[in-house]
């Protein structure tokens, strides 16, 4: 069964959280992030090309214009493939482990699976970011050599924190 709720983050974009219940031992949480806005894309492209035209007016070399087009294309592709996350999913399978998937705007998916034996605890951690305190969910991992020690802290949703979800 599915359940959807929508929130908005600090910068005004719409976030939606979907909760799927597969069985008693398997649940999934999906966070959909706001899409790439046409306004910001147009603004960046116009800035880059205005600068290129300015340089062209100074140097009279047409290589500047073609390189500006090239840079814009490569930059956009790189941004979509490496930076812009469309959706983040958390799949929890009882006694097997926790899986976190991030899907990027270009379709790339990067997955991390943490086995249940390595998880020490799941906590809500506080961090001070600029002038506010934000809370984020993170998983504490056990150290393989010292079972009582914590070896790593893994934040769950990389791009958005719990404090951003002002419903």
């Amino acid at each position: 069964m599915e359940d959807e709720q929508s929130f908005s983050d600090i910068s005004g974009g719409r976030l939606s959280l979907q909760r799927r219940y597969y069985t008693q031992s398997c649940r999934e949480f999906c966070l959909n992030c706001p899409r790439l806005s046409l306004r910001s894309l147009t603004a960046v492209t116009c800035t880059v090309w205005l600068v290129a035209y300015g340089l062209f007016a100074l140097c009279e070399n047409s290589m500047i214009l073609s390189s500006a087009i090239f840079i814009t294309l490569i930059g956009l592709l790189g941004y979509l493939h490496f930076v812009k996350i469309d959706q983040e999913t958390l799949l929890i399978i009882d006694s097997l482990g926790i899986q976190m998937t991030s899907s990027y705007a270009s379709g790339k998916e990067s997955t991390t699976f943490i086995e249940m034996g390595k998880v020490k605890d799941i906590v809500i951690n506080e961090a001070i970011y600029m002038q506010k305190v934000i809370y984020y969910l993170c998983i504490l991992l056990k150290d393989p050599l010292e079972p009582q020690e914590i070896s790593q802290v893994v934040p769950v949703f990389q791009t958005y924190s719990v404090g951003d979800l002002a419903s």
């Binding site: 008693q24 398997c26 999934e28 399978i93 006694s95 097997l96 699976f113 034996g117």
Partner: protein
């Protein structure tokens, strides 16, 4: 705990039969390796399992029954399968079945003392071939390695146990459906054992070839050690030249690749493969460079251009020295010292130009032979280029050394006399500065010398600065060449190619996908291999290079420059410090 049944995807369309595999009680994993079909004799099944267990040190058992109803539901089959539970006692006993319309899976578990319910089982599909061939990084280490101890292998944590089970049970997958054995199995190789004629031929041929080449290479290395030990100046020269280092490294690589010992673990095998690909690429690039050089007589053009370029550099240096001997940048130098230093360096340049002109008839021959060396590899050609550059700028190196030594002497003298000026001295025994009472004549001479050195400092410092900058420029160019050589030497191309073409071989972990679920069927997941990211591949499988990297940090470099200590950027490991 929920029972996790790992089921191979190749068995999803197999006929009904028995499930054979391994049970890991600590995590509740039932890893199904194959399906045994009817008709079978239970004794023969048990014998097969015992044989495989002896070969693989992994405890196998009959885990349950598999029922794939192709036609109308057969009641007798169902009762027969249930009866088998009494024959092969295993706790818990798994009963998997599948409807003919391929969507409906049923899964029942009966274990003593626990209620058998649907949500006590999870079905996880895995691709047997991929899991067999995958190597987990980082490798799961066994806490307690005892050879031949079946219980020690059960101590592995988590999903690594599944990988280990499938990888060790190769003996079970050796028979295919064309064999006339007593037991019929379905697994990933049951349609025919995978083999390749080329691979078999290569394996057969590699034995004698490796033997021959390794004996040749050991002869070569013995020869090189014998010769070098005898002739001292040659040994010194060889330790300074990059080319010899590179040749030695390549010899070591070739010895590794053609050694007659089999690789003990997958990491060594990867290293051998990476080294071989690196050597082959090197030679291919070198041959390409060779063909480019010999086309259109480029070597002749290069040789014709070399002597005028060296002349030009010497002329520029002369002009620089004339400028320093005048009033450089408006600064006023001490005339006498300036003239002495300037004339000294000018004479040096004159010697150098004569030497270059002496060498000029032989340059083309030398370059031609150097160009031939490119067939040994691009790295050798680049190292030779770096050495030629070092030889051609030897005068700049000499100037730098003279300037640095003078400056260093001056700074040492100044610091010691400054201490005298203040009435202190350096205590060598205690390694600290102590106060000391000097005689009047000591103080007089000391102060005089201090003043002289202080006022001569700007001149020496300026010469030192100029020649250090020139030397750093040459070092930077050599550094770029070394970086390129290092890149070709240490990039693990075979691993990168494997990651590109067969990503399941290099596994960072696993990932799960939830498959469509019927209303009351068990939860079905698909387990796939999560490949290692490219950056981790390069980091893990990097080949060791010859270690010609600057060892010092920026702050120690600046400190050395300030005090006039000589910089040796390409110190090899194991060299004594000057």
């Amino acid at each position: 705990m929920v029972l996790k049944a790992f089921f191979p995807t190749c068995c999803a369309s197999a006929d009904s039969g028995l499930l054979v595999g391994r049970w890991v009680p600590e995590q509740g994993f039932a890893v199904v390796l194959a399906v045994v079909h009817f008709p079978f004799i239970p004794l023969q099944v048990r014998e097969l399992l015992a044989r495989v267990q002896r070969a693989s040190q992994v405890g196998l058992a009959v885990l349950g029954t598999w029922c794939h109803r192709r036609r109308e539901p057969e009641e007798s089959l169902g009762r027969f399968l249930e009866g088998l539970g009494a024959l092969f006692t295993h706790k818990p006993w798994l009963q998997l079945s599948r409807e003919p319309d391929s969507r409906r899976w049923n899964c029942k578990v009966s274990s003593p003392g626990a209620p058998c319910g649907e949500d006590q089982v999870m079905l996880i599909f895995y691709d047997q071939r991929q899991v067999l061939l995958a190597q987990l990084h980082p490798p799961a280490t066994l806490p307690d390695r005892r050879a031949g101890d079946a219980t020690a292998t059960a101590a592995e944590g988590g999903l690594a146990a599944v990988f280990h089970t499938v990888a060790r049970s190769e003996a079970l997958f050796q028979s295919d459906r064309f064999d006339e054995g007593p037991v019929r199995l379905t697994h990933w190789q049951s349609e025919g054992v995978e083999a390749s004629i080329l691979v078999e031929l290569a394996k057969w041929a590699s034995g004698p070839v490796c033997l021959l080449l390794s004996s040749l290479l050991s002869l070569l290395s013995w020869l090189s050690t014998w010769r070098l030990c005898r002739l001292c100046p040659l040994a010194f020269l060889c330790s300074k030249l990059c080319t010899c280092q590179q040749l030695r490294l390549r010899l070591q690589h070739l010895q590794l690749v053609f050694s007659t010992q089999k690789a003990e673990d997958p990491a060594q095998l990867m290293r051998k493969a990476n080294t071989l690909v690196s050597v082959l690429l090197d030679v291919a690039l070198g041959l390409a460079l060779l063909s480019w050089l010999h086309r259109e007589d480029r070597i002749g053009q290069l040789a014709d251009a070399l002597v005028p370029v060296a002349d030009r550099v010497a002329e520029e240096l002369q002009q620089l020295l004339e400028w320093l001997m005048g009033a450089p940048a408006g600064l006023k130098m001490n005339r006498a010292l300036d003239q002495v230093l300037g004339r000294f360096f000018l004479y040096h340049i004159h010697l150098w130009i004569s030497y270059i002109h002496l060498m000029s008839p032989f340059v083309e021959r030398i370059l031609w032979h150097v160009g031939l060396s490119a067939c040994l590899g691009l790295t050798v050609a680049l190292s030779l280029l770096s050495d030629i550059l070092a030889l051609l700028t030897f005068h700049i190196y000499c100037f730098y050394v003279y300037g640095a030594r003078l400056y260093c002497l001056k700074v040492c003298g100044l610091s010691s006399l400054w201490r005298l000026f203040r009435g202190k001295k350096w205590n060598v025994l205690r390694q600290r500065v102590d106060s000391c009472s000097y005689d009047l004549d000591q103080l007089f001479i000391g102060t005089l010398l201090f003043t002289i050195l202080l006022f001569l400092l700007p001149t020496t410092a300026l010469y030192y600065l100029v020649f250090t900058l020139l030397r750093l420029l040459v070092v930077a160019v050599q550094g770029l060449i070394h970086l390129l050589v290092d890149l070709v030497n240490s990039l693990p191309l075979y691993s990168l190619g494997l990651r590109l073409c067969r990503p399941y071989r290099l596994a960072a972990g696993v990932k799960f996908r939830v498959l469509e679920r019927e209303s009351d069927g068990p939860l079905r997941l698909l387990m796939q291999i999560n490949p290692l990211p490219y950056s981790h591949v390069v980091h893990n499988f990097r080949l060791p290079s010859c270690g010609c990297h600057p060892r010092q940090s920026w702050s120690s470099l600046c400190r050395k420059l300030f005090f006039g200590e000589l910089i040796y950027p390409w110190r090899q490991r194991g060299d004594k410090q000057d």
